[in-house]
């Protein structure tokens, strides 16, 4: 296959615990440093609260909580990735946001059935790039409440 004809998907790569995840750039509004988050009472546990994103009150989801990964003390590398989906603007707290890469669409594979992790239901596929394994997120499902 001619490399020029290959279709690429531009993604933002971020880290949670020891895994690398990817979100299509088209859904990403920006990446912010961690800032003060105002807790919103009586919401799901993974909703960290809201931030002031340049005058717009934006809800924040803690992806570690969402995927049931044990929390760590937030480090300097922690970032908030602001994503938009269906008129919703939401921020994800991640351990770090590493880079933007083009992944060939052909390298994306279906998620193997047995993984045994909690985030299984949020995964739309995996992509192998050299020796990295990128997990592509199913944003619809991440944002939709499970219960």
């Amino acid at each position: 296959m001619n490399a020029l004809e290959q279709e690429y998907l531009k993604v933002i790569v971020f880290q949670l615990a020891d895994k690398e995840y990817a979100i299509p750039v088209s859904n990403v509004q920006g990446i912010e440093k961690l800032m003060h988050i105002t807790r919103v009472p009586k919401t799901a546990k993974y909703v960290k609260g809201v931030i002031n994103l340049r005058g717009v009150v934006t809800p924040i989801i803690d992806l570690r909580e969402r995927f049931n990964i044990p929390a760590t003390d937030s480090e300097d590398t922690a970032r908030i990735i602001i994503i938009t989906l269906d008129e919703m603007e939401v921020g994800f707290v991640v351990d770090s946001a590493n880079d933007v890469i083009d992944i060939p669409v052909s390298s994306i594979e279906q998620q193997p059935e047995v993984v045994g992790s909690h985030e299984e239901e949020f995964i739309s596929g995996v992509a192998k790039i050299e020796n990295r394994l990128l997990i592509l997120l199913h944003l619809d499902k991440v944002l939709n409440p499970v219960d």
């Binding site: 003060h36 919103v40 009472p41 919401t43 809201v50 005058g55 717009v56």
Partner: protein, 691 residues
């Protein structure tokens, strides 16, 4: 789709034109003889027709065209204005509105209007049996006018004269003046046409009086004509003299002066109508003597142009919202700059920051007022509504609107329309009695409904007052008891005002006959909830057989509200001042227990306490064991509650923000705001806390 980008503009403008049509139609109903109003309606209809044809909405254009024909006939005095004709025209405007709404909602604006079209056609051809019986005189007039028109077409004069102008000409010829029709042609290469016209008129007015000109004087002054214009002129001078005088004006190509014979007018106008016309017009204006008098008349025409609205541009609401957002960011940054400046204490920096703050204050006023729109945008649909309702109900109602220029934030305007519709329908249907009943009660047959809006403090008041039947409190009470809204025992303790307000309770309807105008029992409680959700309140004053006043109090704007900031542990919450009665500090020993509910005795009332830290599950590092508690007493209607917080921070004006589409229906939180330090604070919804 090239047309798409104009669609929005088309819809907006169509709405405006239709509004102006209905406004002017109502005006016309009051002054059926004022042809200037007909012209105004005709202009709106004509523009609408043109626009809709351009946009390809044939049905819309077609119906407008039919309506325009009728208006044209009225304008040319072929038919006389009667309520029946206006009914049909109103009906067409209603259809047109529906069509435009349909287009706005993505439809194709098609609608079956054959019924209305048939009616319009019948009126246009003058066949309406019910109108001919109304005024035989008008039909005779119309017939004569037509005769005159055809006669005019056959003989030499190029101008059409109405009765008034004919009378003037006839009278002046009787008094020894000569009447002429003068055609002036300017040279093709004439550059300053308006100036030449002015010079010609100047000469004419020194020598006599201009009765009529075609095109009209304003059009001539705006150079809206080719090279020719005609003037009907009365003078003592001879035709030759006039011709040579006008020819002296440079760039005039030809001048033709045709004498108007008295016979021509007498031929076309019977003696009868002539007399009638003389009687209609006050004779004082008719006799043209002084050139000054005519000068005045002439100068009035261009003055009308001065009425043209001040220049405006359309800005989409979205952009205004963005502007507001950006401005809010600036406000927050200003807060930061100010605190930095005080820390650094550099005089030049201080000065600059201070100046910036002042400019921003001005800017804030402008940004806020830009979002304000006059309440007229809501009120303007009511005259037509009341007219239709009163005709349907066979009642005589006069609607008076006061303070339509009162300005409100557009967020409030958007919401207030429906409640007002309900209240006005209620006043018209239940309030105002039928003419027979009113006569029996010794009131004038025509009922009055007054719609009033005014500013007071940080609020806008809207009142709907009627001089109708008022509220029958006994009837209301028995109904409320039978419907199980209150118990008999509770009813005994109610004040008159509280009984009045029972009609706002849900599931309440006192009309004996359920009409389709109101009285489904679902209207007024919706009104109450809508108004309360806007942070407003509604109260009713009523005296039986004298009338009722529904009074609505609304905040000026929904985006900027006054709040009290309170602190619980590290978290800051905002409580709207509109719900707060007062704040107080209570001792542990003041707290009493009643049915597992902590209460306090507040000025003789038992008020339940709500511990916000429990409701909001505020994480505490260590348990507080204070002897004193800070309490904010809030209310919802008549109910009170005490919100227990750690401490009060103070009162502040804040900008209300939504939490976005992801977080919806958060318990007891109505929104958020951004504080001076850039952090987000949540706004407490006191109504939800007191269920």
């Amino acid at each position: 789709m090239e047309v798409n980008q104009y669609l929005e503009m088309f819809i907006e403008e169509s709405k405006e034109h239709l509004q102006s049509c209905s406004d002017n139609l109502l005006e016309l109903e009051k002054n059926p003889d004022d042809l200037a109003i007909v012209n105004e309606i005709f202009r709106s209809a004509h523009t609408l027709k043109g626009m809709s044809a351009t946009m390809g909405y044939e049905d819309l254009a077609d119906l407008t065209h039919k309506m325009e024909n009728v208006l044209d006939a009225i304008r040319n005095e072929k038919i006389h204005v009667t309520p029946e004709i206006l009914d049909v025209v109103f009906e067409s405007v209603d259809h047109l509105e529906e069509m435009v709404m349909d287009i706005a909602n993505g439809g194709d604006g098609k609608r079956n209007v054959s019924d209305t079209v048939a009616k319009l056609k019948r009126i246009e051809s003058g066949e309406t049996s019910d109108t001919t019986s109304e005024s035989p005189a008008s039909v005779a007039d119309a017939a004569l006018a037509e005769v005159a028109a055809t006669a005019a077409a056959e003989t030499s004069p190029k101008l059409d004269y109405d009765d008034f102008e004919k009378t003037i000409i006839l009278q002046s010829t009787d008094q020894g003046f000569n009447a002429f029709e003068i055609s002036v042609a300017l040279r093709e290469d004439c550059l300053l046409k308006a100036a030449r016209v002015y010079m010609v008129f100047d000469i004419l007015e020194k020598n006599g009086d201009v009765v009529k000109s075609s095109p009209t004087v304003d059009k001539l002054e705006e150079e809206q004509f080719d090279q020719h214009f005609q003037v009907a002129f009365i003078s003592k001078n001879s035709a030759e003299e006039l011709k040579s005088k006008i020819m002296k004006v440079s760039e005039v190509d030809t001048v033709t002066v045709t004498p108007l014979s008295k016979e021509f007018f007498i031929q076309s106008t019977t003696e009868e109508t002539f007399k009638a016309a003389v009687q209609n017009e006050s004779p004082a204006i008719i006799v043209p003597k002084t050139p000054e008098a005519n000068n005045n008349q002439r100068s009035q025409a261009p003055a009308k142009n001065g009425h043209a609205a001040s220049k405006t541009i359309r800005v989409s609401i979205e952009r205004l919202d963005i502007l507001m957002n950006l401005f809010e960011e600036l406000v927050i940054d200003r807060g930061r700059l100010q605190s930095i400046a005080t820390e650094v204490n550099h005089s030049e920096l201080n000065e600059t920051v201070e100046r910036m703050s002042r400019t921003m204050g001005d800017l804030q006023n402008i940004v806020l007022t830009m979002r304000m729109i006059p309440i007229d945008t809501v009120f303007n649909r009511f005259p037509k509504m009341v007219r239709t309702l009163s005709r349907d109900l066979k009642k005589k109602i006069n609607l008076e609107i006061l303070g339509a220029e009162t300005e409100l934030d557009r967020t409030v305007i958007d919401e207030i329309g429906d409640p007002l519709v309900h209240l006005i329908r209620n006043s018209v249907d239940h309030g105002i009695e039928s003419p027979e009943v009113r006569r029996a009660k010794g009131k004038p047959e025509e009922g009055n409904v007054v719609l009033r809006a005014y500013h007071s403090g940080n609020y806008v008041f809207i009142e709907i007052e009627d001089d109708g039947a008022g509220i029958n409190r006994e009837k209301v009470l028995s109904k409320a008891i039978s419907k199980g809204i209150i118990t008999k025992e509770a009813a005994l303790n109610l004040s008159d005002k509280q009984i009045n307000e029972l009609i706002l309770a849900s599931g309440f309807s006192t009309a004996d006959v359920v009409s389709d105008i109101s009285g489904r029992g679902v209207g007024l409680d919706v009104v109450k909830t809508t108004i309360e959700s806007l942070g407003g309140s509604i109260s009713i004053e009523s005296t039986e057989n004298v009338g009722s006043i529904f009074s609505i109090q609304l905040p000026l704007t929904l985006t900027i509200i006054s709040v009290m900031l309170v602190e619980i542990e590290q978290e800051i919450y905002a409580i709207p001042l509109s719900s707060i009665i007062e704040t107080s500090i209570i001792k542990n020993s003041d707290i009493l227990n009643a049915h597992n509910q902590k209460v306090i005795d507040f000025r003789g009332k038992v008020v339940p306490l709500i511990f916000l830290e429990e409701i909001f599950e505020v994480p505490r590092k260590e348990q507080r064991a204070d002897e004193y508690h800070s309490v904010v007493i809030v209310r919802k209607g008549e109910k009170l509650a005490g919100l227990v917080v750690d401490s009060f921070i103070g009162q502040q004006e804040i900008v209300l923000k939504s939490l976005g589409n992801y977080l919806t229906n958060i318990f007891a939180i109505s929104g958020a705001t951004i504080l001076g330090n850039g952090k987000v604070a949540l706004i407490i919804d006191c109504n939800a806390l007191m269920k």
